[in-house]
Symmetry: C2
Amino acid sequence: KKHHFTKYGDRGMSLEHEINQSNQYYLSKGIAVIHKKPTPIQIVKVDYPKRSAATIKEAYFRKASTTDYNGVFNGYYIDFDAKETKNKTSFPLSNFHQHQIDHMKACVRQNGICFALIKFVLTNEIYVLNSEDLFYYWDDQFKGGRKSISKATIDKFGYKIDYSLNPIIPYLKAVRKIILKYKEI
Amino acid sequence: KKHHFTKYGDRGMSLEHEINQSNQYYLSKGIAVIHKKPTPIQIVKVDYPKRSAATIKEAYFRKASTTDYNGVFNGYYIDFDAKETKNKTSFPLSNFHQHQIDHMKACVRQNGICFALIKFVLTNEIYVLNSEDLFYYWDDQFKGGRKSISKATIDKFGYKIDYSLNPIIPYLKAVRKIILKYKEI
Ligand SMILES: [Mg+2]
Ligand SMILES: [Mg+2]
């Protein structure tokens, strides 16, 4: 049975698509309202043809200054980024940028729930790593620590999320545990 | 003195720019983390020239499925849209779309704080109208009610925000009142 569920991660659906479908499920069931933010674009030139829609003729991708996903779950502000790695034994911290970490730190200061959703694509395994753990290893790399988080560490401190039928990635299970651990002491 | 402050709304700065600067102030002071979402774009054609950045050659504006701004303030999920009207005596409900209202209703069900930030541009007056009031008048229009909310009603049930030096639009003052009214009974 678990093998059956695991297949969902193999179908060539992108991680972003899997998360979007999971969010759509959560939305449709009234469980949470979480959306991917649009990709930020720098628009340079727009044509306004008569009788048809404005056409963007020149634009560039901008670097996102925050994370990809945010929303609200049961009164809690939720904010996370999804990252994939082809690495088998560790998650390279270079997948994050300083401004994304800064953004998550600012959100945590406002009592938001922030985390990384990390997919090891070769083994099709997904983990939720709470921001406090991510921050620890992020900051540690500038004090001589390693530039990656070992998978063993992620397995120990993070929450493994098994692919399921619906939602495909039931990551709010991990969020509930994070809330229980950090918010209701 | 009030006249001096009021000038900030006259400078030709767009409402969006004023809100972004206010959000930047709140962020820099550690008061809240609230951002405008990027404009959603449907990308059709991208060039990948050698040695330079990918260039979007054809793209179209998509209708936003949610609201323009969201974030976190003191543990609360904040979600709002900013609307301008040249109308002097009322706010036409056609400034909102059903899907924006649906989005805000879903967020309120998750205990988020949602509202409209409404600017009467001819008089340079800004109001925060809590979503519960917005929903009442929105729904009422389909039961034979009027297609706009009178400014008198907005003045009675909403929160007037005076332009100030920093932040330019101190709308979190109204949010604090909404939290006191709805959340801490
Ligand atoms: Mg990402
Ligand atoms: Mg708007």
